[in-house]
Amino acid sequence: MDALWSAALIVASPGGLTLLVAGSALALVMGILPGLSSTEAMIIALPFTFALGLNDSMILMSAIYAAAFVGGALTSILFGVPGSSTNLVTQLDGYPLHRQGRTLYAVAAAAGASVVGGLLSLALVVALLPVMGPLSLLFGPAEWFAFVLLGLVVLAFSGSGSVLAGLVAAGLGLLMSTIGLSVITGAPRFTFGVTDLWGGIPIVAAFVGIYPLAEAFGMALRDGPGAAAAPPDATGPAFGAATGAGQIGAGQIGEGLRDTLRHVHAWSLGSLVAWIVGVIPGVGGVLANFLGYALVRETARDRSRFGQGDVRGVIASEAANNASAGGALVPTLALGIPGSLNTAILLGVFMINGIEPGANVFAGNLEVTWVILISSAVATVLASVVVLAAGWRLLAAIVAVPPVIVAPVVVFLGCLAVLLARGNPFDLVFAGAMGALGLACKRYGFSRISVVIALMLGGLVESSYFQALAIGRGAHGVFFASVTAQAIWACIGLTVLLHLLRVRAARRGRLEGLARRGADDV
């Protein structure tokens, strides 16, 4: 309780509140801009954390982490373009609602569901806090090795691209993590005599290169000189009705919030499913968002209006993506293994402050854990209130700035983060190389998140591998010795099996389709 009280005081201090508001505002802006997400927002904020302590850094980062989903929903509803990938299915019902002139109703439902989903998932994390310590004790080197492997395998199997490509990307990340001094013997590996390579690939340079640089490249390429800043339907009748009439707005907001609370099935099931998916390392919000929506749709009594402007779709989707954020915090806080790219950045901030990933992240930093949870909860509520109070005005102001102008700001802030992280200008070379790799991965369908997470956890995987072997006196049976390890390996096997079944079902469906077409031709 002391840690909770102390964390609450830290967040409620003038400095803490300022950082909370600043982080939420930045996340809202980045969430609203199509193509940018909380990841880019967190990386943009990274340079500021070098001047802040661990607690203040966590307030800023957690606020961004939690608030970006809310901004993304606004773009999905108003333009039918997801603000970020985790708002992908919000547009399925949100955009039709906007076309029907019920924009603020949909926005209110999205904001309400975000708050409910976010707070519910954080409450689950808080409920689990007492068991997190004992849970982390179940993990020895063999279990850590298997758990990280599970994350990388699930990541490869759940992505939109090829499974092999996902595994290759993870392998590449693990290989890159071996550059520098060996964690086992201390001997330099793959350094070519360059002493700057002894420390390995700096994690900030990897983040900045692989994500924002590649995204900024896409933004600059997509929007040439004179590209229209106005989104497709921003001038349409529905937008006009929503923006012009305050009295309509108040009515629709109230109705949207009431309906959110009324559809308990949509937000509770969506949140729960997404939270569980979020707990699996590396899976993140996209799959959680989709699964939450799909399950609510499949279990609904009347499914006929889904996809045509059913508010339950908006509620399920938004509750799900906010809940997955809380779920992803569990492996991060309990084991020091990131549940998503954003929690990997959170963990990166820990590392910058000299705290290595592992069970100690939670056990040794209870106050920081509470700071993260409180900041995330307050930021979710704050962002939703801002969206409800001034969402469309905010949107109009933000979309007036074309992405082609935003792109260089992202690039330069990213480069600044790289330069400030270690004070070594040579890191720009790493960022450039990682940028090229990020672009290549994006173009040729190799998962970038797999590369980053594997790169970050490579040292842990290698040291766990050798520690486990040492414990087992060189016998590989040690990796399957404990019940925890066996359960994790079973999960890996189940993931592979489920994927094979899915492939088989898809192939059978395709063959049946071809056979039917052949019969029709005859």
Partner: protein, 153 residues
């Protein structure tokens, strides 16, 4: 780039990754003690997976054909943007954060955002001033001054 090469770009990418992974595994063989065991293991597995991916892509390319090529203008723009990226990183390294940002941002605004020369220069100067005031003066960071011995830096 020829049509043939364009069609098989994705396969070549997978093959290139296989080669990189195999090189890691090969080079790890020369390391003493246990230092090379992990990269050898991961390098071997990754190379095999990348080869399988290349094969899968080759079969898919034969069955379904290749994605359409981008228009020539888009390819030129992408090449120019890549050159700007490389120039920006070099500019920041050589000229430092403030001068590098001012110059490279102005070039970007002129070439890619379609701004006239003066607004582009103003945009670059604004961004550089923001970094200098926000990070250099207010936050007290030592901004990288550049590696070129320029008298005004």
């Amino acid at each position: 780039m020829s049509d043939r090469l364009q069609r098989y770009e994705a396969i070549l990418a997978a093959l290139a990754l296989a080669a990189v992974a195999a090189l890691f595994a090969y080079a790890a063989g020369g390391l003493r003690g246990d230092a090379g065991r992990f990269p050898q293991l991961v390098g071997g597995i990754t190379a095999a997976l990348a080869l399988a991916e290349a094969l899968a892509r080759a079969l898919a390319a034969r069955a379904y054909g290749a994605p359409p090529r981008s228009p020539r203008a888009v390819r030129w723009r992408a090449a120019l943007l890549l050159a700007w990226f490389a120039g920006t990183l070099a500019g920041l390294y050589l000229l430092g954060v403030v001068a590098g940002t001012a110059l490279c941002a102005a070039v970007y605004f002129r070439l890619f955002a379609g701004l006239r020369l003066l607004p582009a220069l103003a945009g670059g100067a604004t961004l550089a001033a923001f970094f200098y005031l926000g990070f250099g003066l207010m936050a007290g960071f030592r901004l990288h001054p550049g590696t070129l011995p320029l008298p005004w830096l």
